[in-house]
Symmetry: C2
Subunit: 324 residues, 2 copies
């Protein structure tokens, strides 16, 4: 049915289609998926990676800033894990080089999962089903945080979202987009958005100033890339977010202050490019951006191996005062 509309693939475009994941080690990916969904990597036994990067909701929590251990109010908006393997570096300020390095962070972050690597590993090592799986996947009897983060990263690498209508269009299916969406794309290119949002992820590959033409006014204390480089020139430089699946990853910006896509586009036009889009132009760009929603991760809800008798109990609450 599709072939009828197939024209020539578009080349020389600033955005390229996303490729499907190529899984070379399914057992490793399956283990990583279980760990990603397992709240026993947190001190409370309640918070998993999927709590904040919910794969039912575009790989985010759709909150301004995240809720962490003991209901801690996080400092920054949680980016999507979808297509995060395409990022030049991880986190808004790029302080982790890759997904493996990143994955250790939240487990030990007191405001996120509130645990330690040592206790997380000790927990896994007392769960018979995991011991068996780590043995099968890594050939080891001794689990370390290195294997844990390696498995999670391998799972995350599968979280790409190919086959968006925009990608179908890029590949030559001229019916995949409406006229309005094509117009939005033209405007996105011609206005200069593609200077920063380009490549297969439509972003993710550079750090850029938030507020090029006009300063961005917000309450967040995040200073961006400067926190890593120590350079004043990097103040308020953030990793350009991917715009893939942007319809699902509201609210927008590092502080989550833009509730709707229309607001985010308005602000970007004004403070990055000095442009005030008309209502219609804004709607066209929003329509184009919504065509970037691709195939969401599709797998069976993972089953987690039950704890063993020696597995430490989760510690969600402060110990009760001892009765006298």
């Amino acid at each position: 049915a599709k072939t009828a509309a197939l024209g020539k693939p578009m080349t020389d475009e600033p955005i390229q289609p996303i490729n499907a994941a190529n899984v070379s080690n399914p057992a490793l990916v399956q283990l990583g998926m279980q760990l990603y969904f397992d709240p026993r990597l947190s001190k409370s036994g309640f918070i998993s990676c999927n709590s904040c990067h919910n794969l039912s909701m575009g790989g985010t929590d759709n909150l301004k800033t995240s809720i962490g251990h003991k209901w801690n109010q996080g400092p920054i908006n949680a980016p999507t894990v979808l297509n995060s393997s395409l990022n030049v570096a991880q986190f808004w300020d790029g302080r982790a080089a890759d997904l493996k390095e990143q994955a250790g962070g939240p487990i030990a972050n007191p405001g996120e999962m509130g645990f330690t690597h040592e206790l997380a590993v000790k927990t896994l090592a007392t769960i018979p089903g995991y011991v068996e799986e780590f043995k099968k996947v890594f050939g080891t009897d001794k689990i370390t945080i290195d294997e844990v983060t390696k498995a999670i990263a391998a799972f995350e690498e599968t979280l790409v979202t190919p086959n968006s209508r925009f990608d179908q269009w890029l590949k030559g299916d001229k019916n995949a987009l409406t006229a309005q969406e094509v117009q939005g794309y033209e405007l996105f290119k011609n206005s200069g958005c593609v200077a920063c949002h380009n490549g297969p992820a439509v972003g993710g590959n550079s750090f850029q100033k938030m507020g090029v033409v006009e300063p961005y006014k917000g309450d967040s204390k995040a200073e961006g890339r400067a926190a890593v480089t120590g350079k004043d020139a990097d103040r308020f430089n953030f990793k350009v977010p991917t715009l893939r699946n942007i319809e699902m990853t509201y609210p927008y910006f590092h502080d989550g202050e833009a509730k709707t896509l229309s607001q985010a586009v308005e602000i970007m036009g004004r403070i990055q490019l000095g442009r005030n889009f008309s209502k219609e132009e804004n709607a066209d760009i929003v329509a184009f951006l919504k065509s970037l929603t691709g195939d969401q991760p599709s797998f069976k809800l993972p089953q987690l191996p039950p704890s063993g008798p020696d597995t430490p109990s989760p510690q969600p609450f402060d110990a009760k005062p001892v009765k006298k």
Copy 2:
């Protein structure tokens, strides 16, 4: 391969096999599944039914008592939703007649999802994908809490776990259990456990005193069935829990004070029946109980429709004080 070992099905046993779910309205079930996984039914936008009844972990949170809205420490252990359609009534004290009646409770419970029915419905009514689905499933343009709880209950009715090794054995496959497991089952029958734990759910069908022979000592303030009936005779009567998938639903009892299955069996024997099982007898019963783990729910992680521009933002934290 199985047929070789097939003997005659066991009849006249106090436990019967669980039947697979019979889904007559797949669209209703699918909608219920999405709602079950949707944290937007909570005030914070963070807590869904699946947070506390995690279908990756036997339909529970595996915590002594649950974590709710703003990290509220719940008063009682969260029972599994697996096979809950077989319960005589819902909750430890049976205060909800059925799953539909039950499902309204947690949404509006300040210590669980912390929302109101009105706001939950208002939220759903602003999500275009849900509006369409409710229209398709119920033929209505106006969503009410009645449709919401009906859909969730329909999904929960599919959460049965047939095909445990014990059920295979009941059905005549003599190789499905080990000699130890059969011995454990004999002991479970002969000691009198089946007086309370019987039927397809191995429990769930009556309220019984916790501490028949010897009082149960715990810190919990729960008074059981008396909270519903007002009768003194019902003090410390609790719904007998299902023992299906009991390997996965630790910790045990209404206060979650028994960490291991071995402890729970020891306490039951002693305080319900005045029996002190030997180490070996205890191990046999535990082995039998682990054969009650059935097929876990198997479906693709649901995808949730994105919020619309008018969807109220979640309110996880107190409003910031207004700056002067």
